[in-house]
Point group: D2
Chain length 350, copies 4
C-alpha cells in the first residue's frame, strides 16, 4: 500500500516535534514535507539532533509554500500559532488539500465568540463553515468526511471527554460546574520567554489566567451542544513543573434522584467502543504518567457522600492526545484508516 | 538574656529536620534535646550530614525520656506521628512542660469526630481540654496563655487563612465550598514507601484521598467557628512533584449583594496587623516559590464576572508555615516573644 | 506467523515494568507469563493501573514456577535481583528454555572476581560457562547461538560502547581512563528506601559508591577483552534527579601520533552497521532526552587541544538500552529475528 | 550602629535576586539603591512579587547613575554582564565608591588571557590593577584592604577551594587534572533563551562547552598561583535539572610517596579556621542540597586504591557561595565586619 504523503507546517514548536516523533512509526503515512521559515534548507536533524538516524531526521526543511505542499502532500498538519493558521489553511484548502489545523482558528463556530476571546477578526469564514471539531469520541462520523479539521485544544479535550456522558444523559446540573485544571509546561510552547525558563517553573506551582483562559469558550461550546442548553463553566488552569500532561479535577452536582451507579454505568457504556478512553475502576485515580506519550484519556468518577458532589478527574498527555496524536487520529479517520493506526502504545512509566 | 531551652521529640522526619534548620538562627531559643529511639547516641550530624559545622549538628540524640526532657527543657516540640504524640504530650504536661504538638492529636475538639476520622480513641481528654489550636492569626491571645498547642495541619493552615475573612464577615455562602489543594511531597513524610519514591512522583501529578483526607474535619471545625454555623466542605488534595509547598484554589459563592470591593477591603483590613499573611494586589497570584522557606501565607482574591464566583487562592510552605515554623511561632507567643522572632526571612527564589 | 511466547520472572521492578511496556507493540513476541511471588493471582493492571486496556494488563500474575514457565514459554526474561537469578536461570535451563538474565549473575566470566565484588559464591558455574555477554554490537554472533544471555548492566553498556573502537584499534592509553557517570534514579530500583524518596533525590545531585560500584569489574572485563590487555578504570557514579538515563563523560589519553580524525573515522566506520549506536557529528553532544525510551546509544568525541585529551561522552536510557530493551534485542537475535524488531522508535522529547 | 548603605546595579538577574534575598536579614547593611534600566520607576515588589511585605520590596528601582549611587551608597555590587561591568566599575571607582563586581571583568590578571577567552579588549586596566580576586579563604587580607573586588565565578569557587590544599602543599601532580563539573540551571542566567526553557532542561542532562568554558582560565590562574607553576586543567561543565548548585568531581594523581592521611590532615588543618568550608568525614560525600541557600563549600576526599587516584568532590550553591553570598562576604571584609555577618544559616533541606 502506497503511503499517504503528509506535510507539517511549523516544525519548530513542541507540537511539531511531537508529530515527527509519532510519525516515525506510522505504518501508512509518511512525512514528505516539514516547513519552517527560520530553518528552511536544513535537514530536520540539524534542528532536532535527537532525530539523527531516524527517517524524519533526513527531511530537508522547506518554506511553507502551498503549491509545493499541494504537489507533495495528500494532507497537511498546521502547527502554527492561531491567526497564522487561518490564512494557510485557506490557501491549502483552495488547492483541495486535506488539512488538520492544530491551532484555535477553526474551533469556535461563532465568529463573535472568536472575536471576543481572541481579539481579532475571523477572515476565513468559508473555511470555518466546513471545519469539523475533531474530537473523535464525539464527532468521528463528521471527521471521516471532513476536509478541514479544527483539532481540539488540550484543556478542552480533557474537560469535554470528562463531562460528555454526564451532560449527554442529563445526570448533572448544568450550572456551577468548576474545572480546576493543571498542565505541564510544554503547553506554554517553545518560544523564548522568561516565564517559561526552567528556574521560573521548576520546584514551584501556580495558577494563571484564572477565569480568562481562551480554552473556556471552546469547552462551553461543546458542553452546551452535549447538554442542549447554554453552559457557562468556571475554568481555571495551573502550571505544573512537568513536561507533559493535563489533569482536570471537575466538580459537579448530580441532579436530584440520579444514582452514582447509573452515572458510572453510563460512562462505561458510552466509552466501551472508544479504546482511547479508559474509565478507571472504582478506587483508581488518573495520574499524568499513566497517559504519558499516549492517546489515552483516563477518567475517574468519585461520589462524595458528605457533600453530594460528583467529582470527575481526567488526565491526558497534552502533546499527544491534546495536540499531535489527536491530529494524527483525525487524519487517520479522514483517510479511511482506523483511528488507532500508528498511535497504539503503552505509556512511558516511569 | 538566657536562652529558652527547647526540646524536639522526633527528629528523623521532615518536620523535625525543618525545625532544626529554623532553630539555627533563633536569637532567644536553643535546642538542648533532640530525640529518636532509632538514632539515640549519635550526634545529629551523623544523621543529617548537612548539619556539620552548625550548632545543632553537635547535639547528641537521646531517647525520648520525659524526666530528662523536663530537666533540660522549658518547652518541647512533638514531631511524632498522631497517636504516639498523645501519650508523650500527657507525660510532658504532667511535668508542667510547655508542649507544641505538631501531630493531629489535639486539633479536633470533638472526640467523636477524632474517632471517626482517625479510627482510634482519644486517651488524653484532659490534655485535649486545655489544648489551643495554634493558628496565630485566629487564636494569638489563647496561644499566649496556653501550655499545650495543637499545631495546625498544613492543608488547614492554607485553607482556613484563605477563607477566614470571607466567613467571619458573612460574605459567602457557607454551602458548596470547594477546596482543590495541591501539596509538595514532603507532606507524605520521610518513611520508606514505594508511593513516595522519586520515580513514582517525579514528572507526574495526581489526586489522592479525594473526599476522605483527615484534614477535612479540622478545616470544617475552624470554618464553622468562624461562620457560626456548621460547614461541610469538599476538600480534595493532589500530589505535586516538588519538595515543599501547598497551594489551594478555593471556589466560593458570594452572597447576593456583596461587592467584590468590600470583600477585598475586609481581607486587607483583617490581615493588615498580621505580617505573615500577604493579601496580594489585584492581578497577582500566589505561587509556591514565593513562600519557600518562609512563614508567609499568600492570598489572592479573584472575582469571576461570568460565573459570579469568588475564587480564593492561597499558598504556604507546608514544612515551615504548615508545620515547624508555625510551631516556633506558637512557642514564641507562649514564651512572651514576638511572633516573628527567628522566623523573618525572604523566600528562596529560585 | 505464530508469536514467540515469552515469560517475565519478576514484574514488580522498573525493569519488569519497562519490559511490559516494550512488549505491547512487539510484532512477533507475546507475553504469556509474568510472575511475582507477592502479587500472584492479580491481573497485571491491578499492580500497574496504567496498563488498563492494554494486552499485558489482563495477564494474571503467577508464581515463578519453572514447570509452568516451560509449558507456556519459549524464552524467559529474569528481572530479579542478583543472587536470586542464578538459581532460577539454572532451573529454566534444565528445562531447555532460552533465558535472558537481566541481573549481574552471569556477567563476570571469572568466579573469583564475582566473589570479590558481590560477596557471595557463584553456585551455577555450568550455566556461567554457557552464558554469553549480551552486548549486541560486540557479541551479536555469539548471542544468536546462545541459550543463556547475561544482559549487560546499564553503566557498562554506556561505558563499553563509548570506548570500544578506541581500545579495539589501540588508539588510546589503556591506563588512566576515568569514567564519570551520571544516572537517573530508576537505576536504584523500585524498593522502598529512604534514600530513593522523592524528597531525598529531587532538586539535589550527588556522587555515590565512588571507586566501589559493582559495575566496575564488568566494564573492565569487556574493555580488557577489546584491548587485549588488563585494564583498570576509575569508574565513579552520580545520582541525577531524573527518572531515566545514563550519561558518561569519559577522559582518555590518545597514544602519541594518533590523529583525532583517525579516531573519528574509526568510530563512524565501526558503528555504521549498528543502527542503535549514533556517533554524533562534530559539535553535537549527547543528552539524556535524546535517547529517552529508545535503544540508542549516542556517542560524541571531543578533542581538547589544550590538554591533548580525548573526551568521549555517551548517553543511553538505562531502563531501555541499559536493561529491558537490550534484553529484547538479545531475545530477538536468539530467536532469529532482526535486532531492531519491536524496538525502533523516536525518543520522547520533551 | 548606622547601617552601611549598599547599592545593587542590575537587579533583574538571578544574582541580583539572590542578593536582595540575602540582604533582607543583614544586621549591618541596608540596600538603598537597586537599579535596572528596563524597570526603573517601579517598586522592587512589582518586579519580584515575592518581596511584597519585605524591606527590599518597597525600594524604587532607579537608573544606574554613578552620581546618584555615590550620593546614596558606601558600596556597590555590580550584577551586570561582563563587558558592561567594566565601565560602570570605573565610573564608581572614580567617585571612590567601594565596588564588588560579580562579573568576570576583573578576575583575570592578564589582559591577553582576557582577550583570548572573552574576545574583547579590557578597557579599564587601571581598575584591573587594583582589583582583588575575592575568594576569602585565599585572599582575605587583600580583600580587607581592597576597594574593588573581582568576585569569583561559581565553577572556579568550587574548583579552587577543592584543590587549594593539595596544590599548596605539593601533594599532587600538576598535570592531568580533570574537573568534571555539574551546575544547576540558574547559572545560565535569567535571559529568555530556548535552551533554558523548562521543557529543554527538565528530565534531561547534558554536557556543554566542553573544553571551552570561560571559567577555565580563572581556575588555572588561581591554581597556578597556589602551585607556583603553570597549570592547565581539563574543565568540563554539565547542565543539571535543578535550580541551584554546583558539584565538581575532580580527578588527581598524588605524587609518589604522599600518603592519603597526610592529605586529609592538611585539608582539615588548612580549613579549620574557615567556617564556610566543611571537609567532610571519611565516607561522607557532598550533595547539592547540603549547601542550598548557604555559603558552605563541602569537600570530600576519596582515595582509590585500585587506581592510585585522589578524587576530590566539592559542592557549593552557585547563587549564594558562587555569586551573591560571596559578594556580601567580601563586602563584609571590606567594611571591617566579620566574614559571616548576615550569611550564617542552615541549608534548606529538603
Amino acid at each position: 500500500m502506497k503511503k499517504i504523503a503528509v506535510g507539517l507546517v511549523g516544525v519548530t514548536g513542541y507540537t511539531g516535534m511531537e508529530l515527527t516523533r509519532l510519525m516515525e512509526n506510522h505504518p501508512h503515512m509518511e512525512l514528505t514535507r516539514v516547513t519552517s521559515r527560520s530553518e528552511a534548507g536544513k535537514p530536520l536533524r540539524a534542528v532536532y539532533p535527537f532525530l539523527q538516524g531516524l527517517k524524519s531526521g533526513d527531511i530537508v526543511i522547506t518554506e511553507p509554500d502551498p503549491a509545493d505542499l499541494a504537489a507533495n502532500c495528500d494532507l497537511v498538519f498546521l502547527a502554527v500559532p492561531h491567526g497564522a493558521a487561518m490564512e494557510t489553511a485557506a490557501a491549502l484548502r483552495a488547492k483541495d488539500l486535506k488539512v488538520v489545523d492544530l491551532s484555535a482558528d477553526f474551533r469556535l463556530h461563532d465568529v463573535a465568540t472568536f472575536r471576543e476571546w481572541y481579539k481579532s477578526e475571523h477572515t476565513q469564514t468559508d473555511c470555518l463553515a466546513e471545519a469539523v471539531y475533531g474530537l473523535p469520541e464525539l464527532h468521528a462520523d463528521a471527521v471521516k468526511g471532513a476536509k478541514l479539521i479544527a483539532n481540539p485544544g488540550c484543556y478542552p479535550t480533557a474537560s469535554i471527554l470528562a463531562l460528555a456522558p454526564a451532560l449527554r444523559h442529563g445526570f448533572i446540573e448544568t450550572g456551577g460546574i468548576v474545572i480546576d485544571a493543571k498542565s505541564g509546561t510544554s503547553g506554554a510552547g517553545r518560544k523564548a520567554a522568561v516565564g517559561s525558563l526552567y528556574c521560573e517553573v521548576a520546584d514551584t506551582f501556580k495558577p494563571y489566567n484564572l477565569t480568562k483562559h481562551r480554552h473556556t469558550p471552546e469547552i462551553e461550546q461543546e458542553l452546551s451542544l452535549l447538554a442542549g442548553v447554554d453552559i457557562t463553566v468556571s475554568f481555571n488552569p495551573h502550571l505544573l513543573p512537568v513536561n507533559r500532561g493535563i489533569l482536570a479535577t471537575i466538580y459537579t452536582q448530580p441532579k436530584e434522584g440520579v444514582s452514582f451507579d447509573a452515572i458510572r454505568a453510563a460512562y462505561e457504556a458510552d466509552y466501551a467502543p472508544h479504546t482511547f478512553v479508559r474509565v478507571l475502576p472504582q478506587g483508581s485515580l488518573p495520574e499524568l504518567r499513566s497517559v504519558r506519550g499516549t492517546m489515552f484519556c483516563d477518567i475517574a468518577l468519585m461520589h462524595d457522600p458528605r457533600t453530594g458532589r460528583l467529582i470527575i478527574v481526567s488526565a491526558i498527555d497534552n502533546l499527544c492526545r491534546g495536540a499531535s496524536g489527536q491530529a494524527i487520529a483525525n487524519a487517520n479517520l479522514m483517510c479511511g484508516l482506523p483511528l488507532e493506526t500508528g498511535l497504539w502504545c503503552a505509556p512511558m512509566v516511569p
